[in-house]
C-alpha cells in the first residue's frame, strides 16, 4: 500500500514541481510582496500593510489602465463572440469552398501574436499603410491610427477581435456540428421558422460553448500585452495602456516590485470575480447534456 502511494507521488512529481515552481510559489510570493516595499540596494523590503493598495487607489495611471481595459473588454468580448457565432453559422452550411473559408477564419489564431501585431502595424501605418491606402482611393486624408489618442485604443480593439473571433468560431463550429440534424428537421416539420429554431433551440444548445468562450474572452481581454508592446508601448499618453502592460512596465522597466505585485493581485482578484460572476449568473441558465 505504501509502495503504491510512493509510486503515485513519484508520478505526480514532475507536474507538481513545475506547477509549484512556476504557478503556485510565484502566486504566493506575489501576494506577500504586495504587502512589502520594493527592496532597493541595501534597503531590505519592509512590511507596510495595505499601503501599496492605498497608493494604487491614488495612481492616475492605474485608473487609466483600468478604464482602458474596461473599454477594451466591453468591445472585444461581445464583438468577437458574436462574430465567431456568425462565422460558425456561415461555414456550418453546405457551400462551395467551405474548407477553405474555415481555414481562413482560423488563420489569425495560428499566427504568433508578435507577427500579428507587426502585420497590423503595417495596416495602420500612415499614408502607405493598408487602411490609409484604401481610404486615399475615396479621397480620405492621412491618419496616424496608432498615434492619435482617439483612434489608438479602437485600433487595438480591432486587432483583438480579428484575432479572437476565428479561435472562438472553432468552438462554435464544433458545437454546431455536434447538434443532431434531426432536431432541425423535426422543427421544420413542426412549422418552426429558421429564426424561431435559432432562438429557441440553437442558442440554448450553444450555451455551454458560449460560457466557455466568454470566460476565455474575458481572460484574454485582461491578459493582453504582446500587441501593446509591439504596436504602441501603451501610448500615446497611456491611451492604450492595459492592466497587464502596466504590470509589465512597473515590474520590468521601472523595477517597482511593490507596485507590480499589488497590480497583479488586483488583476487576479478582478479575473476571479468576473469568472465567479459568469459561472454564477450564466451557469444556472446553461443546459449541459
Amino acid at each position: 500500500m505504501r509502495k503504491e502511494s510512493l509510486q503515485a507521488w513519484l508520478l505526480l512529481l514532475p507536474a507538481l514541481v513545475l506547477l509549484v515552481a512556476f504557478t503556485h510559489w510565484p502566486a504566493a510570493t506575489t501576494i506577500i510582496d504586495s504587502f512589502y516595499t520594493t527592496p532597493k540596494g541595501s534597503r531590505p523590503p519592509r512590511f507596510v500593510g495595505i499601503e501599496n493598495y492605498a497608493d494604487l487607489m491614488t495612481d492616475p495611471v492605474f485608473w487609466t489602465a483600468l478604464r482602458n481595459n474596461a473599454i477594451y473588454a466591453v468591445w472585444t468580448i461581445p464583438a468577437s463572440v458574436i462574430l465567431a457565432l456568425v462565422m460558425a453559422l456561415a461555414v456550418n452550411t453546405a457551400m462551395p469552398g467551405r474548407a477553405l473559408v474555415r481555414m481562413a477564419y482560423f488563420t489569425p489564431t495560428m499566427l504568433p501574436m508578435i507577427a500579428v501585431a507587426n502585420i497590423w502595424l503595417f495596416f495602420y501605418t500612415p499614408d502607405y499603410g493598408l487602411f490609409d491606402h484604401i481610404l486615399s482611393w475615396f479621397g480620405g486624408g492621412r491618419h496616424n491610427w496608432l498615434g492619435d489618442r482617439a483612434t489608438a485604443l479602437p485600433a487595438m480593439i480591432a486587432v483583438a477581435v480579428w484575432k479572437e473571433a476565428g479561435f472562438f468560431m472553432i468552438f462554435y463550429l464544433a458545437a454546431l456540428q455536434a447538434m443532431p440534424p434531426d432536431l432541425k428537421e423535426c422543427a421544420a416539420l413542426e412549422g418552426s421558422s429558421r429564426w424561431n429554431f435559432f432562438r429557441r433551440v440553437t442558442i440554448p444548445l450553444l450555451m455551454p460553448t458560449t460560457l466557455f468562450v466568454l470566460v476565455n474572452a474575458v481572460i484574454n481581454a485582461f491578459r493582453l500585452v504582446d500587441h501593446v508592446v509591439v504596436m504602441t508601448r501603451g501610448g500615446p499618453d497611456n491611451a492604450t495602456t492595459l492592466l497587464l502592460y502596466y504590470i509589465y512596465e512597473a515590474g520590468f522597466r521601472f523595477w517597482d516590485q511593490a507596485l507590480a505585485a499589488t497590480l497583479t493581485v488586483v488583476l487576479l482578484g478582478l479575473l476571479g470575480l468576473l469568472a465567479w460572476l459568469q459561472f454564477g449568473v450564466l451557469g444556472k441558465r446553461v443546459h449541459y447534456r
Binding site: 434531426d182 428537421e185 421544420a188 416539420l189 413542426e190 418552426s192 429557441r200 433551440v201
Partner: protein
C-alpha cells in the same frame, strides 16, 4: 375505445412514379403507391432499400427527383414540410434536450402560434392518452428510452396532423418494450384514425401492425399488399425470403423438377420452389411423397423447434416443427408437405410463377 374517437381523421397518401437519384445512384426508382385514409401502411425492406428516403420525401425533408406526392388529394410535391399536414416520429426521437417534456410536446404548437388554451387542451389530451403526466417537468436526458418514445409520440399527437410518419421508431428499444410499444402505436393509430406510414426493417412489426405492407428492395416495390397476402402469396422470391420467421425455404430445382425422387415442381430447370418451414411435417422414414433430408442442427425455441437440414444435393432446408422435435444432429428425416403449399419462382427474375397444382 373512447367517445372522443375520431375515426376518419386521416388523409390518403399517394405517390406517383417517385424517384430520387444522387448522380447515377437511384435510391428510389419509380415508386407508386396509395395509402388509404386512416390505414396503417408499413414500408418494409432491408437497409438501403429506399424506405427511409421514401418516407422523407413524403415528409418533405427530401425532394423527389421526379414524380408527385399527394396528401389528401392535394399535390404537396413542392410544399415545405410544415405545410404538408404530416407529423413525424424520428428514429432518434429528435427531442430537444434543453426543453422539458411539456415544452417539447408543444414546441410545434408554439411555433405555429396556436393559442395557449388550445395548446393546453391538446397537451392534456396527449398526456392522458400516453400516460406521461408524471414526466411533464422532466428533461429528455432524465427519461428512459420508452418514455422518450412516448414524448415523441405525444409531439406527433398534438400536431393533430392527418398523416403520421414513423421512421423505425422502435429500433432503439429492447425486445420486451418493443412488443408493448407495437401494440400501443397500433391502438393509438386506430383510436386517432390517422393515416400511418411506418418504416421498419423488422418483418414482425410489419406483419403485426400493417393494413398494407409495401416491401421495397433496391429502390423499387417488390410487393404492395396486405400482410396476409404477402405471407400467403409472395410476389417474388425476395418477398418470400423476407417474410416469416424463419423465412421461406427456396430450393433450386434441377432439370427434372424433382429432388431425390420427390417432385417439387415442373421439369425444365431455371426455377425455384418455395415452401414455408411451418408447412413441413415430420413423417416416418421411408414414406413415399416426402422430402428426405439430414438434420444438421435443431434449435429448440419452446413452443416449436426450428430444424436446419440439408438435402441430398447439399441445399439447405429449414423446418419449423411443433413442440420439441428431439432430433439428433445427423438424423435422416423425411418431411411431408401439401403440394398447395409449394410456391414457384423464376430463378432468373425472381418473379412468382403460377402456383403449381
Amino acid at each position: 375505445m373512447h367517445a372522443e374517437q375520431t375515426r376518419g381523421a386521416g388523409a390518403a397518401v399517394r405517390l406517383t412514379n417517385v424517384a430520387r437519384r444522387w448522380g447515377s445512384v437511384a435510391a428510389l426508382d419509380g415508386v407508386s403507391l396509395t395509402v388509404e385514409a386512416g390505414s396503417f401502411c408499413v414500408l418494409l425492406g432491408p437497409s438501403g432499400c429506399g424506405k427511409t428516403t421514401c418516407l422523407r420525401i413524403v415528409a418533405g425533408l427530401e425532394t423527389a427527383s421526379s414524380g408527385t406526392v399527394e396528401i389528401g388529394g392535394r399535390d404537396v410535391t413542392n410544399l415545405p414540410p410544415a405545410a404538408r399536414g404530416v407529423a413525424m416520429v424520428f428514429q432518434s426521437y429528435a427531442l430537444f434536450p434543453h426543453l422539458n417534456v411539456a415544452e417539447n410536446i408543444v414546441f410545434g404548437l408554439k411555433a405555429r402560434s396556436v393559442p395557449p388554451a388550445d395548446r393546453k387542451r391538446r397537451l392534456d389530451r396527449a398526456v392522458e392518452i400516453l400516460g406521461i403526466g408524471h414526466l411533464l417537468a422532466r428533461r429528455p436526458g432524465q427519461l428512459s428510452g420508452g418514455q422518450q418514445q412516448r414524448v415523441a409520440l405525444g409531439r406527433a399527437i398534438v400536431a393533430e396532423a392527418p398523416v403520421c410518419l414513423m421512421d423505425e421508431p422502435l429500433s432503439n428499444l429492447d425486445a420486451q418494450l418493443r412488443a408493448d410499444m407495437r401494440r400501443e402505436i397500433l391502438a393509438l393509430q386506430r383510436r386517432l384514425g390517422i393515416t400511418m406510414l411506418y418504416v421498419t426493417h423488422d418483418q414482425t412489426e410489419a406483419m403485426g401492425m400493417a393494413d398494407q405492407v409495401v416491401l421495397l428492395r433496391d429502390g423499387h416495390i417488390e410487393q404492395d399488399a396486405p400482410p396476409a397476402d404477402v405471407y400467403a402469396t409472395p410476389a417474388t422470391a425476395f418477398a418470400a425470403s423476407f417474410i416469416g420467421t424463419p423465412p421461406m425455404n427456396l430450393i433450386k430445382l434441377p432439370e427434372s423438377g424433382a429432388i431425390a425422387g420427390t417432385v417439387l415442381g415442373p421439369p425444365g430447370g431455371g426455377r425455384l420452389t418455395g415452401i414455408r418451414p411451418e408447412a413441413l411435417r415430420l413423417m416416418e422414414t421411408g414414406g413415399e411423397t416426402g422430402i428426405s433430408a439430414i438434420v444438421s442442427h435443431a434449435e429448440y425455441l419452446g413452443a416449436d423447434t426450428v430444424v436446419a437440414c440439408h438435402l441430398a444435393d447439399g441445399q439447405s432446408l429449414l423446418a419449423r416443427l411443433p413442440g420439441r422435435a428431439g432430433l439428433p444432429d445427423g438424423a435422416a428425416v423425411t418431411f411431408a408437405f401439401d403440394h398447395a403449399d409449394l410456391h414457384l419462382f423464376d430463378a432468373a427474375t425472381g418473379r412468382r410463377l403460377v402456383t403449381p397444382a
